[in-house]
Structure formats: C-alpha cells, structure tokens
C-alpha cells in the first residue's frame, strides 16, 4: 500500500467535502441539534400530569383526598367535573391524562368503617407515561388509606411492617441526560457514516468519475482508506463536540479513562465509516445507497443498540440480532466509561468485537471495490 497515493485520495476527498459547504455545515451542526433535542427537549420523566377530579361526594373526607393530589408535584389539577362525558371528551382531546372519580358514598363508608374505592381513569395510549402515572396515583391513594387507618386505630401511625429501601447506582438523581448523551455519541457517529460515506462511491459511479479514478495506479485498499480518512476528520470533530458539550454543559460524569474513551471512539468510527463505504460500493445508485445506509447503520444504532430502548425487553430473536449491531457494543462501552467508570478488563469483549468488525468491514469494502472494477 502506497501512502502517498492514499494521502492524495484523502486530500481530494477533503477538498470535495470542504467545497460542499451545505453538507459540511449539516454534518457539524447535526450533533449540536441532536444534543439540544435530547438534552433539553426530550424527556420521559413524568410529572405535572394533567388531572381531572369528579367528586360526587363533596365532603371534608373527599376534599382531604383531593388535597393530597393537589399537593403532589406529580399531578396538576385541571379542574373539577360533574360527569363522565366531560372526562371522555377531555381524554379524547388529550387535555387530561388521568381522572379521579370519588363515589357518592365515599365519606359515608369511611365514617362507618366500610370499604370504599375511588376510580382512577387513565388514558392508556402512552403506556409508558400511563404506567408511571398510575403507579404514582395508586401510591398516593394507598398512603392516604394508611393515614386514615392509623387515625381510626387511635392516632399512632402503624405503617407497613416491611419497607423497601431503594438505592440507585451510577445515576443517583436519575437524570435521563446521563444515559442519553453517551448513547447519542454512537448514534451521531453512525448517522454521519451512513449519510456521508454511503453516498461517496455511489456518487462517483453516477457521475462517471469512478472510471477515471480506476484508470489511475490507485489500488482499491488505498481508495477505501483515503476516502475513509477524509470523513474520519469530520467524525472526529463531531466526537469532540459531543464529549465536550456533554461533559461541560450537561454535566454528564466521565468516571472512566479519557484515553480509553478516545481509543474506543477511534475503533468504532473506523468500522462505521468503512461500513458506509462498503454500502456505497455495493449499491448501484445514490438513492439505494442512502436507503441501505439508513436501514443498516442508523436504524439499528438508534433502536437496537440499547440507546433508549433497553435490549433486555425485546423479543428473543431480535435480541440475538442485536449481537450483530456494532453500535450495541459501543454503547455498552460508552455507558461503562462515562457512568460506571469501568475499564478495559470488563469491556474487553466489546473492544474485541469492534476491532474485529472494523477489520472485517475494511477488508470486505476493499474486496467489493476491487470486484466492481472488473
């Protein structure tokens, strides 16, 4: 392999990148936009749940229960209604998520020591928010029940005999940014490789400049390496942007070794970019290359890597498939280095896979380019 030719290829590609200002700006702005989105705008945390109260009783006892809901930061009382129709309409229009229905006999039953139930009507469409909201609401009612019970039995609170003491590891304030920002790095790098590199060779074929390249003494391996190096520069800049913004602005802890982080990013980027070039060599047109790139790089990185949706909760055959997704290993590495502070000993398997992937894809890409020559 001739380094001079490789460098020539890389500098040609860099010039192409530099001249296409629009694409370059998008490639650099994309991480910033995604960081802003995922860091500030997008959140699965549940509070200020819009609530409606349907109080058929109107007694001091029912008002005591309502006061609990009013005092909780999880619930925001939208208003008081008198019938089910209004609740229905409100839920249909997505104005309210949960409605608390207090039956007529509420105070009567409580005062005579008979059992009574309040109804919680919840919009189940968004099952995640609904489950969490339901959990909070049921816990609130249960606490109120305990308070009532102990009041009845003579003033001293007899709490439950067994209590759960919870401790959260690695991310004790449960900040969703802490787990999203490290994962975002993997997604962004995959997007860059899918978007930029997957088009590069296909474009040369469509433009007709590929034949010109092939008539030079340039070898396929040099072609691949040269092109990849140019995009590597863009990917490296994006990596630095994400890490700096993540650590400085979002205060994501970086408990592991920065050197190990850099090495992992390097290996992953190499593999991802070569994968893009491989797709580019196989696909006949830019359109097809783009589609393939989206489907094999971006989608798996986003959905099947454990970025937001944990792999443990996915059907078994798809879990098997995720072992083939390089982003999955990279995200394990990232979360481990950022949040858990673990090192090479526990992450050796992931590093090994990524290295194997990078080497394999590089060799295959070179092979594919050679094949299309003949």
């Amino acid at each position: 392999m001739n380094l001079r030719r490789t460098r020539a290829m890389a500098s040609k590609e860099l010039r192409h990148i530099w001249r296409d200002a629009r694409s370059l700006i998008i490639a650099l702005a994309l991480p910033v936009i995604m960081l802003l989105l995922f860091g500030y705008a997008l959140s699965l945390d549940v509070d200020h749940i819009p609530t409606l109260i349907f109080d058929s009783d109107g007694s001091p006892e029912s008002r005591a229960l309502i006061a609990r809901f009013e005092g909780s930061r999880y619930f925001e009382i939208l208003g008081f209604v008198d019938d089910y129709r209004t609740i229905e309409r409100s839920i249909d229009r997505e104005e309210c998520l949960i409605a608390v229905v207090i039956p007529k006999e509420f105070s009567r039953n409580l005062l005579t020591g008979k059992e009574v139930q309040v109804q919680l009507i919840i919009d189940g469409s968004d099952s995640n928010t609904a489950s969490i909201a339901l959990g909070y609401a049921e816990a609130l009612v249960a606490n109120h029940a305990l308070a009532l019970q102990s009041a009845q039995e003579g003033g001293t609170q007899t709490p439950l005999p067994v209590e759960a003491r919870l401790r959260v590891w690695y991310n004790s304030d449960l900040k969703s940014q802490n787990y999203i920002v490290p994962g975002l790095l993997a997604v962004i790098l995959m997007i860059i490789s899918a978007l930029l590199t997957s088009l590069t060779i296909a474009r040369e074929w469509e433009m007709g400049t590929m034949e010109q390249l092939l008539s030079t003494p340039l070898r396929p391996a040099e072609l691949v390496l040269g092109k990849m190096s140019a995009y590597f520069a863009v990917g490296a800049i994006d990596t630095v942007i994400v890490i700096v913004v993540g650590v400085l602005i979002f205060e994501v802890p970086l408990r592991g070794s920065l050197f190990f982080l850099a090495v992992s990013c390097f290996i992953f980027l190499f593999g991802a970019l070569c994968w893009g070039i491989l797709i580019s060599a196989i696909a006949g047109s830019q359109l097809l290359a783009y589609q393939l790139g989206m489907m094999t790089s971006f989608l798996p990185a986003f959905l099947l890597s454990g970025f937001i949706y944990s792999i443990e909760n996915v059907p078994a055959p798809i879990q098997m498939f995720t072992f083939l997704v390089p982003a999955r290993y990279f995200i394990t590495l990232l979360k481990g280095i950022f949040l858990k502070g673990i090192g090479f000993e526990l992450l050796a398997l992931e590093v090994a896979f990524l290295t194997a992937f990078a080497t394999l894809v590089f060799l295959t890409a070179t092979r594919m380019v050679k094949r299309t020559v003949v």
Partner: protein, 360 residues
C-alpha cells in the same frame, strides 16, 4: 426503485415495532438472602411470582453484587439482611434493601416502583396476618380483610398498557413521512445532477405543472404505503384499529401535501443529491423527535412545545393515534386537519415561488 419503495417500509415497521418498547418486564434481578428464613423465602416467592422480575443470580457477597451491576447482568439487586424473619415474627418493623441500576433512568424508575409495590404487597399480607392473629387473641370484632381505602384503575384505549399499541401507529407516520419527503426531494435534484433538467426546461412546461407532475406519483405511492403499512401493522402486531379507514386516508392525503411540499422546497435549494438527502434528514430528524412519537410533547419545555405547532408530523401523529386507538372522528380531529392543510399549502406555495426556470 420498486425495492426501494416497498421493502424498506415493511422492514422498518417490523424493526421499530418490536424494538421500540418501553415496557419493563422480565427484568433480571439478583437475590441475596442473608437471612434464610421462611419469611425471606416467602418474599422471594413474591418476586418470582411477579411477571416483572426474573431472579437470575444468587450472589454470595458484596463484590459479586458490584460485578453483576457493573456488567449489567442484572438491573436490580434485592438484599434481605439477617434478622428479617425474626423481626417480622416479633411484629417489629424491618427493611429490604433494593439496589437499582440507574443507568437507564426510565427503566430504573419503573423497576423501583414495581419492586416497592411487590414489597408493599408482601407487607400488606403480613400485616393482614398479624391483625388476624391479634383479633384471635383479643376476641371477636369487626374483621376487615382488605384496606379501608383502595383505588380501582380503569385504563382506557390500551388496556394492557402495551407500549407497542402506542408506538406502532407512530411508526406508520414515520415511514410515510420519510419515504415521501426523501423521494420528492431527490426527484427534482436528480434531474439537476444528471443534466436532464435543462431538457425539461426548454419544453413549454410551466413550473407548477412540472412540480405537480413530479410529485403526484409519489402522493399515490404514499397513500398506497399508508394502506400497506397499516395492514401490516394490524396483521403482524395486532394493533387495534377503532376508527375510520377513509378518514385515515383523507388525513394522510393532507399530510402528504406537507411532506411533498417540503420535499419540493428542499429540492429547490439543493444542487446535488447528497445535499438533498442531508437536508431532508436534517429537518426530518428533529421533526420526528419533536412530534410526540417517543417523547411526549407535554414533557418538553414550553418554548419547544410552541415550536411543535409548526410541525406537520405532530398533527398527523395525533390523528393516526386517535384513529387507531381512540376511534375518534373528524369532529375531534378537524383542528389537526386544518393545520395540515394550511402548512401544506404554504410549503407548496413557497416551493413554486422559489423554483426558477433557469439554469442555476
């Protein structure tokens, strides 16, 4: 081209449908029992009986717990300290320690809540037994087995709280939007790149006729894909479909107006296919994220929530979810449809204005 149009949507539907899942079930947990009494074993039975948890490891010591959590082999560790059973038999309050892996804060919240509930259920049972024992000692009296006050939950639209029912309709929106946006953007740019645009320009064809002619086929394809992906969603995932198919197609047409319009706009500002693709992705990604697909709009900062009023994907998402899960009709959805029509006409109008029948 046929492959590009028909295969990716189905693949995306399957991948999204199965992978996008926030339900927390069968979470692997570790159980460390330092007490080993009948009481601690009863608590273990409670956890094993719950569909949310799967006891996969029985660590012997601290380092093993550390390693299991570091390796993400388990998502939580339940630890029963020595003296647990003795305290319960004596009627004294006691504790159970639960360590949760907080790396994924969403799952961590759900797991914490579930684990607390399992412990609370066990505690409630113990309390019931203690009370029965007390009454047997102190004599007959009113016996109340259950708690005085409890909550009865009624979940509407998605009774089993399956997150698939929430996400798969959203995937339909995503697929349609992405395909039509990208194809339209590429359609005109391709001609620019390969030089055939100049040939088109010397014909008497007017800008609006050119654009309509280019985009109407994609509109037809888009509607076809709505049918196809919806059918696949119903067949493969068993998602409920409670509304009117006709309304869905009508609203899809209104939505397609916006995506095709935006695709056209992108094609008027791009000179290469790469630029067109990058631009469409660059705008599609935030539009998709801010549409309420995976992250509720309600949770977003207020300024961002106002921004989503300009996002056509948001409206179509509400329409699709409403028709699939709630079976609502035009009487509830007319504001969304109006918004789509307004945005669509604006985008198409803007593209026509920008399209210069010149060589530049």
């Amino acid at each position: 081209m046929r492959v590009v149009l028909l295969l990716p949507p189905i693949i995306q539907l399957i991948v999204f449908g199965y992978a996008v899942n926030l339900d927390v079930e069968n979470s692997p947990i570790a159980w460390m029992d330092q007490d080993r009494t009948p009481e601690s074993r009863e608590l273990l039975a409670e956890f094993e009986g719950s569909p949310q948890f799967r006891v996969t490891h029985l660590p012997a010591g601290e380092e093993e717990i550390q390693e299991l959590l570091d390796r993400s082999a388990v998502q939580a560790v339940v630890r029963v300290l020595p003296g647990f059973g003795r305290d319960i038999r004596r009627g004294q309050r006691t504790q159970v320690q639960i360590l949760v892996d907080g790396t994924n804060s969403n799952s961590a919240t759900i797991i914490s809540n579930s684990a607390s509930q399992v412990v609370a259920r066990y505690a409630g049972r113990i309390q019931g037994e203690q009370r029965t024992r007390q009454r047997t000692v102190s004599g007959p009296g009113p016996v109340r087995q259950g708690p005085l006050l409890s909550a009865e939950s009624r979940v509407w639209f998605n009774v089993d709280l399956k997150s698939q029912n929430y996400f798969v309709p959203g995937v339909v929106v995503n697929i349609i939007a992405l395909v039509t946006l990208m194809l339209t953007a590429m359609a005109i740019v391709r001609e620019k790149e390969s030089g055939t645009m100049e040939q088109l320009m010397v014909t008497p064809i007017r800008p609006i006729e050119l654009m309509l002619g280019k985009t109407l086929p994609f509109a037809a394809v888009g509607l076809l894909e709505v049918l196809m992906v919806t059918g696949a969603a119903l067949l493969i995932f068993g998602i409920p479909f409670r509304g009117s198919m006709l309304l869905l197609l009508g609203c899809a047409a209104a939505f397609l107006l916006t995506t095709l319009g935006f695709g056209l706009l992108i094609s008027t500002v791009s000179s290469t296919q790469q630029q067109a693709m990058m631009a469409s992705f660059f705008f599609f990604m935030p539009a998709f994220m801010l549409s309420g697909f995976a992250f509720p709009i309600r949770n977003m900062p207020l300024a961002v929530q106002y921004l989503t009023y300009l996002n056509p994907v948001r409206y179509f998402m509400e329409i699709v979810r409403g028709i699939f899960l709630k079976g609502i009709g035009l009487d509830v959805l007319w504001p969304q449809v109006m918004a789509l029509l307004v945005l669509g006409t604006a985008l198409v109008g803007l593209s026509v204005l920008r399209f210069h029948k010149r060589l530049d």
